[in-house]
Amino acid sequence: MNPTANSTANATTTAQGDAFIEMRDVSKHFGDFLAVDQLSMTVRRGEIVALLGRTGAGKSTVMSLSMGTIAPDQGTVQVGGVDPSREFDALRGKMAVAFQTDRLLPWRTAVENAELGLLILNRSKAEAREAALHWLARVKLEGAEHKYVHELSGGMRQRVSLARALAVDPELIFLDEVFSQLDHVTSQVLRRDFSRIVREVGKTCVFVTHRIEDALDIADRIYVLDAPARVCLALSVSEQTRRDPRALADLHDQIAQAIGGDTESADHDPNYSENQDLS
């Protein structure tokens, strides 16, 4: 079967389901610079969607639009039925972000960082601590709870940052290039741990990345973005596809072609097909 043709059809069908994020003809300028151009996309509840594109393709702008930290010039953005920039507080506690850099506060220990979101949501100190410890354990950080940020490795810091996002029990999680600053092995282990956790808890997840293999490894669906951001390819990745190295390689080539030839991912991951076999 040709997974791609199927996938594009799937992407459209899912769009009509229980949409959590819905963008319609969204454009965004920064001065004269057009960052997002007539973008339409949908993220359904409970799915993991990757926004894939080269650096500068406007992926992060799309994420900021969904988070409501910026408003579109044209078009509509709806998240959980509300406009995220106009009704900023309506989505309080419903979304969380893990960023490219860990963004941990150095004066707080791992557990104090993990509970930060909950404290902002005015949960009691005890409740916040309990949830933070639970999530630190789930991201495999037992024993490091009371360490300060400078005592943790890069991978551990990123795990704390993921625990901080998950601890608020959000409906929607944004992952903004979370694995891209880690070395290959750490990134791969973390990616697998994280996609397992997100699937277990059934959260909706938007995953921004420039690495094709990251997207293929985690996402249910992939939106490939052109610069300025508009969807140039939409496809689904089923578990069956993920287990088939040839189908994956096909998808990889197709995405690489859509975003314009050579891909950083291929250079970064020489064992690409072997890795896919393992999953």
Partner: protein, 278 residues
């Protein structure tokens, strides 16, 4: 008199890209500092002793005489020392509190910030001596005079350094906080205030010596009680041994306060990796 640096240059070591070292590595450094301090002190005392043998005692008394004067002052003038310390504490505490508030407003309020900034910048241009003379015209009460002088001199250091601290806060931390949609107060409580603590410490450490010099100077001009006024009395009664004894005590006071501040800083800022630069 030299003024402490006004601009904050203390950034967390990790941002400087300097190699972070384990905490105990700093210990031998501290021991070396202490040894150097002892060596320099002994050399100074020896130099005084040698000088005292060649010049009359009203130019340079022997360190032994000065030592006796120190003991005398410590028993008879304790009241003056405590008054000076209280004045110092009150003025530094008040300047810290108000200076930090002004610095926070300068860094966070778009409307008020520029006006406060201008006010503080103008204040930093006014010489300490002008404030001392003006204070004599404006205030009758010596306590008010001294408090006013010290506050107008010390406050801008706190305001400007805290302002620098707020401005140097990484934008990505603010974005991270914003992703949880905090209130303005929560942003202050969880991000801004903990971040500026290191700037408050740095400022206090750099102004404390200056503040001691200023309180003595202000007491000399404006008061009949306190170490400054006692030094003035010693000078007018030709007691150079007392002048030197007070000087010695003030140096010791500065050292003790600096050590206490370092101790408190190490405790409060224990989250910082100590940097070791080769």
């Amino acid at each position: 008199m030299s003024q402490p640096a006004r601009t904050a240059s203390s950034v967390t070591p990790s941002r400087l890209g300097v190699r972070a070292a384990a905490r105990p590595a700093a210990r031998p450094g501290r021991r070396r500092d202490l040894t150097a301090l002892c060596v320099v002190s002994v050399l100074l005392i020896l130099a005084m002793e040698v000088a005292s043998r060649f010049v009359p005692p009203f130019i340079m008394p022997s360190p032994l005489v000065v030592g006796q004067a120190v003991l005398e002052l410590l028993t008879s003038d304790w009241h003056h020392v405590s008054v000076t310390l209280l004045r110092l504490g009150a003025a530094v505490g008040f300047s810290m509190l108000v200076g930090v508030l002004i610095g926070l407003l300068m860094g966070t309020s778009r409307r008020l910030g520029p006006y406060l900034n201008s006010l503080v910048i103008i204040d930093t241009g006014i010489p300490a001596l002008s404030w001392m003379l003006v204070a004599v015209f404006w205030f009758k009460d010596p306590e008010a005079r001294i408090f006013f002088i010290l506050t107008v001199i010390l406050l801008p250091f706190y305001a400007l350094n805290v302002y620098e601290g707020v401005r140097s806060m990484p934008k990505e931390w603010v974005d991270m906080m914003e992703s949880f949609r905090p209130s303005r107060w929560q942003l202050m409580r969880y991000l801004v205030i903990p971040h500026i603590v290191q700037y408050v410490f740095m400022t206090t450490k750099s102004v404390i010596g200056y503040a001691i010099r200023m309180v003595i100077f202000a007491e000399l001009v404006a008061s009949a009680v306190g170490v400054g006024s006692r030094m003035s009395l010693a000078q007018s009664t030709f007691r150079i041994d007392y002048v030197l004894a007070w000087t010695f005590l003030l140096v010791v006071l500065n050292l003790v306060l600096q050590s206490l501040l370092n101790l408190a800083e190490r405790h409060v800022l224990k989250w910082r990796a100590e940097a070791k630069v080769r």
